[in-house]
């Protein structure tokens, strides 16, 4: 049963393997170039297992000690998981002990595969989703660890390498922009964030920005509802 589920899951994760190995390696390499030992990227990729937040955590570790801020920032940056969870309430039902790991390892990519791919009838659904999640995490941890090790071997001027994070988010932004016809959500995110950055400064703009974004959405929805009634 397990073997069959593994064979069904593997092909769906191959494209993710390429991306995760590359991004994971850049992440591990970035951490090493900032002076962290290879254990940091290895353990952080294993325990946090949320790509964007791991990149953000590099900054947190290099600035002043503020654990509460780190906690809330993680909540904000990963808030999308709340909505993945809501979408997966049904699918993750009745899979036994595997449910815990499925939730723990629910990154964007595993969510995408598990919510969009239905395995063949003779394949156990729980084991299929389990292997999708496990394989994806294995690629990421392997990439991060390899990158950390490469950081010891390859030596060059790494100034500016942190732009890998900016480039990643810009490409994600472009991808989402092209996928949807309604750009209000994306523009709200950009606009509110820039406004709060200007008003509150770089060290404390995230939480007001998030609040403002939610406020804008809630307000525009109320307005649309009212229009709908007329």
């Amino acid at each position: 049963m397990k073997r069959k589920a593994f064979q069904a899951a593997l092909p769906h994760t191959v494209p993710i393997a390429v991306g995760f190995l590359f991004l994971g390696m850049s992440y591990g390499f970035l951490m090493r170039s900032k002076g962290f030992s290879v254990f940091y990227p290895m353990l952080m990729s294993l325990f946090i297992f949320a790509g964007s937040m791991e990149f953000v955590t590099v900054n947190l570790l290099l600035s002043a000690f503020q654990p509460a801020y780190a906690f809330f920032l993680a909540l904000m940056v990963n808030a999308r998981h709340l909505f993945y969870g809501i979408s997966m309430l049904g699918r993750y039902r009745n899979v036994g002990w595997k449910k815990f790991y499925l939730i723990y390892g629910m990154c964007d990519e595993s969510f995408t595969v598990n919510c969009s791919v239905t395995p063949p009838d003779d394949v156990d659904k729980g084991w299929f989703m389990f292997f999708v999640t496990l394989l994806n995490q294995a690629y990421w941890v392997t990439g991060a660890t390899l990158g950390g090790f490469l950081g010891y071997v390859i030596r060059f001027d790494t100034k500016g390498i942190e732009f890998v994070m900016t480039a990643l988010f810009v490409v994600m932004f472009l991808g989402q922009w092209e996928e949807s016809a309604d750009h209000r959500s994306a523009l709200t995110g950009l606009g509110c964030s820039f406004l709060c950055l200007a008003v509150f400064g770089s060290s404390r703009f995230i939480i007001p920005a998030m609040a403002l974004i939610i406020l804008c959405f809630t307000f525009s929805r109320k307005k649309e509802d009212r229009r709908g009634e007329v």
Binding site: F49, G85, G160, I206
Partner: protein, 108 residues
């Protein structure tokens, strides 16, 4: 930051991340339907959060000596490369190398 402080920071990040993953399953166990408002936020919020993260990456550059000029140029480069080749990994790798050359050779 000491090693202990680093570990606490990482633990806080793990706790925050896991809260976002486990909360829905704790709040809505077995067949309880989430309110419409929450489900709707789930469809619009992801787009806005990416915008927020882009700004987060630029937060220190804006207040630096060049006021984010090298970042803006490199983002323009990523934009063009992505429109042209439509290859996510190439856009990220190309953009990063381009930015590294900019800040190491031009904007020193």
């Amino acid at each position: 930051m000491t090693t202990a402080q680093s570990i606490i920071t990482i633990a806080a990040v793990v706790a925050g991340t896991m809260a976002t993953r486990f909360l829905p399953f704790l709040i809505f166990p077995e067949g309880k339907k989430p309110p419409e408002y929450i489900a709707w936020l789930g469809t619009v919020l992801p787009h806005a959060v990416i915008g927020l993260l882009v700004v987060y990456c630029l937060k220190d550059a804006v207040f630096s000596a060049y006021h984010g000029l090298p970042e803006i140029i490199a983002i323009g480069f990523v934009f063009i490369l992505h429109k042209w080749k439509r290859n996510t990994l190439l856009s990220i790798a190309g953009g990063t190398v381009f930015y590294m050359v900019l800040v190491q050779k031009l904007f020193v």
